[in-house]
Amino acid sequence: MLRFVVRRLLQAIPTVLGVLAVTWFLFFGTVSAETIARRNLSSKNPTQEQIQGWIKDHGYDAPPLVQLRRGTLDLLRFRFGTSDSTKEDILGRIRQGAGPSMAVAGTIFVATVLGAILTAVVAAAFRGTYVDKTVTVLCVVGLSVVYTVYVIAGQYFLAKQFRYGPVWGFDAAHGIWKYIVVPSLIGFSAGVAIEIRLYRTFLLDEIGQDYVRTARAKGVPETSVLLRHVLRNALVPILTNTVAVVPGLILGGLLLENFFGIPGLGSYLVDALAANDFAVVRAMVFLGTLLYIVGLILTDIAYAIADPRVRLD
């Protein structure tokens, strides 16, 4: 097992290097320092001195080797530097934002996975009937609505009309639950449809297997077949697919935090986008990717533990 984990970690090294190359090329290879300066300077027609001053001030005049180091080694050591627009320390801001973001994203993650498993089991139990068909139709409709509409409409109905939580703000001193109930509910509704569809196919694949027929033939009750035989086997693909929820969580973080005034990483990134803050966006892209890679590794390990058919060496 240890060997498997170590090998999987080593495999991640070239991937991280590749990600560094992609972000470095994107941020230092495709735009000139002057373009970055022009976008950041507020005046419409900045003078040449203003542009040169900004470039010097924000370190974009550094020699290519220093730029390369900044885009690779410094990112690897989490030395993100300071923000282009506010001169704030990026790492410090990320530390502050991680807590609120994790609270929202963690709640949505658990709710989505559990809710999707439950609904998919119900749909699979009543497969072919109108219950199953309703679930399928609702899922397709749910997939076809934009995330932003969920956010705007959700805030209006859940926060403003039904008053499940505040419309805006975040205050850790007053208990964070109050503030994350509505965003989590919205994130759950927006992300659950695609998971239900996926899990339902996994369950139906298992229901068609021979061992299910055997279990039925020896007189195991249908509920027991479903929960103890089918679900247990379907949990293997479900488990390995939970990491697929992560990109949705990142998107949810961006939109929900920005809309509900939660001072997390998502709203930090959205503010940085609005301010043309290249340094912050670069750091956040790298950090988000790193988290996702960790998630992928954890999934592989979980898969190896859950499925005895996976050979470890």
């Binding site: 609505v145 990109p247 961006l254 043309n276 892209v285």
Partner: protein, 337 residues
């Protein structure tokens, strides 16, 4: 060339695209696999309704692509502009109202608006219709980047294996480990706002999924007997890939393309909302939704702007999703759940 002539030439583009699609469909309908699939689709009532709704959208997109040079305003005017453009009001007005909305002293309107007007007095129905062409541009162009790229790299990677496979799969692994939305917003931030930039950003992040799929299929077909027979007869690798393996992969590719079209339309709305989308002045459902973010917080609420954009976008995404599902069932009945 005179501007008028250039604008006449523009008009040929949508006709050429439609003609190409019609030609491909009619060719495909003559092959046994696709002919049978089309017959099954025609028997499926959901698919027929979905195709009809999607067809309406195509009609609007074409009507908004065919136009002429207006000498008075010195701008291009399309059929949609001519039919649906309404004079600008002062500010918000409710659907079919005769006075402006939310002002202390509501002013009478110049005309009636089926879906009301937005904050700057523009007709909401007109804005929603202007979003159709942008949606098709983004969906279509991105798919034109994604599909050939994924097909070529996936086929080469799966068929040849070895170092080609290693190199391509390394690129796929790296790109797919960057969460798509993060790479997209970073790319549009760096490249600047605009429809082509969005298409590039979506294209770069979306081809990896299809590439993996194609590679897997290519590996499956690589050692089949028909491929070995072709090899024994002296057919070259490129010809085997293009003429023997590729046709067998088309069902998978077409289904995946249909299903990803709707997610591309939705992605445009999200990018616009995050401020890295379509520039102002181009019709965009994302910008309409973005403008609507504070409208529900007002009292009394302004719902028609958000409502129109939601109906417009879901009205395209839902039929495309349904069509994709129906197509999958029609092409491969074994996949039917």
């Amino acid at each position: 060339m005179s501007p008028a002539l250039v604008h006449q030439l523009y008009n040929l583009t949508p006709l050429a695209v439609l003609g190409a699609i019609a030609w491909i469909v009619s060719r495909a309908a003559r092959t046994p696999l696709w002919g049978e699939a089309l017959r099954r689709l025609r028997r499926n009532p959901t698919a027929r309704v979905a195709a009809a709704v999607a067809g309406l959208y195509v009609l609007v997109a074409v009507a908004d692509s065919v136009g002429w040079y207006d000498t008075a305003s010195q701008e291009r005017r399309t059929v949609v502009d001519a039919v649906f453009e309404r004079p600008r009001e002062r500010t918000y007005s409710a659907p079919l109202a005769d006075r402006t909305f939310g002002e202390p002293r509501p002013a009478p309107l110049i005309g009636r608006h089926l879906m009301g007007t937005d904050g700057v007095g523009a007709d909401v129905l007109y804005r929603a219709l202007k979003g159709v062409r942008t949606a098709f541009q983004i969906g279509g162009t991105t798919l034109c980047i994604v599909t050939p790229l994924a097909l070529a790299l996936g086929l080469v990677s799966g068929y040849h294996g070895r170092w080609r496979d290693d190199a391509i799969m390394y690129a796929v692994t790296v790109l797919s480990s960057i969460p798509g939305i993060l790479l997209q917003i970073a790319m549009v931030l760096v490249l600047g706002k605009g429809v082509p930039q969005i298409c590039i950003a979506l294209g770069v992040t979306r081809w990896v999924g299809l590439c993996r799929l194609v590679r897997g299929e290519a590996i499956k077909h690589r050692d089949r007997e028909y491929v070995r027979a072709a090899k024994a007869l002296g057919v070259g690798d490129t010809a085997i890939l293009a003429r023997h393996i590729l046709p067998n992969l088309l069902p998978v590719v077409i289904i995946s393309t249909t299903l990803s079209f709707s997610s591309l339309v939705l992605a445009e709305a999200i990018l616009s909302y995050l401020g890295v989308g379509v520039p102002d002045g181009t019709g965009s459902w994302g910008n309409m939704i973005d403008a609507a973010r504070d409208e529900l917080a007002r009292d009394p609420v302004i719902w028609w702007n958000l409502g129109a954009a939601t109906v417009a976008i879901t009205g395209l995404a839902l039929p495309m999703n349904l069509l994709g599902d129906a197509l999958r069932d029609a092409v491969d009945p074994r996949l039917r759940s």
